[in-house]
């Protein structure tokens, strides 16, 4: 081997080593960059030009150290995490709105309402007892109105969050499509586009939290993204998800593909969770509440209308107005004239409190769930179901979070940069080079003596 050939190989090798060190520099500089994947230079020896010894080494490629299977798992788990995270958030708010058990909750207020009627049965002629009944009715109505309003607000909040999330989905789709174009271009020129691919993966990770999307990777480096079987991103084109106001659903948004107006099917992810909350879960809670309050209105009004006012003549007056939790209120005529509270069942019988007792007895009547449950039992069931749902959603969300954290740790162990580890590697290099140089010097000294003799 001529010394010139050896030095050429050495220069080539050093250039490659410099590139490898540049990769280390890049890794170090990005140690705190979210989503960054460690990069590694792969080298290969250069074949000899005319036989004989090789010509050193060249850079084969720059590898982006990434475990695609872990990426897939993280994104799959993210769909459910986003879904149950959104459900847990909304249901916690619902639970907070009900505020059970407490002295001011609907159950306590309902109990106080019937207690007031029981008191009135003992003193039907006293205006204080009549006033207490009206006040308890108003408190009950207020509690029901507030609950209905709070549940409506939580639905509106889900709708607002939905519009914000859809905006983010559209931004991410545009970003992924743009990155697709640049990645394909760079890869065609031999550049692995590692950093751009990291950025795209970060966008895909976030998209996986928001939606139940699926990713298809192509050989030229671009990815297609699908939601509900439709392409959100197809190579360098991003489809847009539009928000259309639906007057048939309280002016909440419907989600449609901009390309043809078809409904976008979000089955999971944060958006799926918000849709489920807005359109299924919270309306079901509200329906339960309405069932209870409507029954109370109907039952109390039926008994009250059959009773007689303080004058012993007036009858047929409803105690409550409204038809559900949102509209329930105490009849303004009764509230304005306490004498209209129908405490008696016998007309003209002064001091009769049997009507008031009949209303009070409704508390123990089993008029709900096909005649099997009292108001209290029905409400208990509602709160229990809510509590179980909250616990389930929080439990699943927490478990998904733990799974994702574990997977992210796995990903970091493959792709992450650790300065201490880089340092240990470098010190090993340093020691290895020192030892090799020392042996070369020792051998060269002995060779010199022989060369001196050989002339």
């Amino acid at each position: 081997m001529a010394i010139s050939v050896g030095l050429n190989s050495a220069i080539r090798a050093l250039l490659v080593q410099q590139q490898a060190m540049d990769a280390v520099a890049h890794n170090v500089a990005n140690v705190n960059t979210p989503g960054y994947s460690r990069q590694r230079v792969h080298m290969a020896s250069v074949a000899p030009a005319n036989g004989g010894v090789g010509q050193g080494v060249e850079m084969l490629n720059l590898e982006r150290v990434r475990d695609l299977f872990v990426d897939f798992q993280i994104r799959t788990e993210s769909h459910a995490a986003g879904d149950y995270g959104a459900r847990a958030d909304s249901l916690s708010l619902v639970e907070l709105a009900f505020g059970e058990p407490s002295d001011n909750g609907l159950r306590a207020v309902l109990g106080q309402f019937f207690n007031a009627w029981r008191d009135l049965a003992n003193a039907p002629g006293q205006s204080a007892a009549r006033s207490a009944v009206v006040q308890a009715g108003e408190t009950l109505a207020f509690a029901a109105n507030r609950l209905a309003s709070s549940l409506g607000d939580i639905r509106s909040d889900a709708n607002t969050r939905l519009s914000s999330s859809v905006g983010e989905v559209n931004d991410l789709a545009k970003r992924i499509a743009a990155l697709n174009g640049r990645i394909v271009e760079m890869r065609a020129m031999g550049d692995p586009a590692a950093d751009l691919t990291d950025q795209r993966d970060l966008a895909l990770d976030r998209l996986a939290q928001l939606t139940d999307m699926r990713v298809m990777t192509h050989e030229d480096g671009h990815v297609d993204v699908f939601i509900g079987g439709r392409a959100l991103v197809s190579n360098i084109t991003a489809n847009v998800v539009n928000l259309e106001v639906n007057p048939g659903n309280q002016n909440f948004f419907d989600l449609e593909w901009a390309s043809d107006g078809a409904a976008v099917q979000f089955a999971a992810g944060e958006i799926g969770g918000l849709l489920h909350q807005r359109d299924v879960d919270i309306p079901a809670r509200l329906a339960d509440l309405d069932t209870l309050i409507t029954q109370v209105i109907d039952d109390v009004n039926a008994v009250h209308s059959a009773g007689f006012a303080l004058d012993g003549v007036t009858t047929g007056t409803a105690f409550f107005t409204g038809t559900d939790a949102a509209t329930i209120g105490v009849n303004a005529a009764v509230a304005g004239n306490l004498g209209l509270v129908a405490a008696a069942t016998d007309g003209g019988a002064s001091g009769d409190g049997s009507g008031a007792l009949a209303v009070a007895d409704l508390q123990a009547a089993t008029n709900l769930t096909g005649g099997s449950e009292t108001y209290d039992a029905f409400f208990n069931g509602m709160i229990t179901r809510l509590g179980v749902s909250v616990r389930d959603a929080q439990g699943i969300s927490g478990a998904q979070g733990a799974t994702i954290r574990h997977l992210e740790q796995l990903r970091a162990s493959t792709s992450g940069v650790n300065l201490d580890e880089e340092m240990v590697n470098l010190v090993q290099y340093q020691k290895g080079y020192e030892a090799a140089a020392r042996v070369i010097r020792a051998i060269d000294e002995m060779v010199q003596q022989v060369l001196q003799m050989a002339g």
């Binding site: 030095l7 050193g56 300065l419 340093q430 080079y433 010097r441 003596q449 002339g455």
Partner: protein
Amino acid sequence: MTSAATRQDLHVGVAVLSEVMAAQRDLYRALLGVAATEQDAIVAGDVERLTALVEQKEELLDHLRALETERMTALVAIQMATGIEADTATLSAIAAHLPSDAADALHRAGRELRAEAVALEEAHAVNAQLLRNSRSLVDRWIHYLRTVLAGSLYTSEGGSAPGAGGRALDRSA
């Protein structure tokens, strides 16, 4: 000319020297092979392989040292017969005391040994340069990383750099 006894000493000394030179040539050839592999390991940054090769070379170096002792013993024997100083003896000087065919054989063995020695020297020159430059790069990086790990870097705005040290990674996970 020397006496018969002295000629016998010279003959034995040259024979031993030739054997030693042949053994050294074979060792240089082996070292040359290791040097080529060593170069690959250096440029690939494969320190594990480099360390294994260094151990291999150290074993060969021990053999080389043993041969060097034998070479000096042979040269001392030749010195006794010819008066040529062992420390400064050359093959040409020794050959001058030998019959032409023996002198030719010694010169031929010397040329073969020299060729291997020169090739080994060249390979070592390249590897030494590679090692110096690699070491220099690594030294610079260690210095830089120490600065980063000490947290004394500043951002372009003059603020402190974000917490260095990286994430605690468990690669066994």
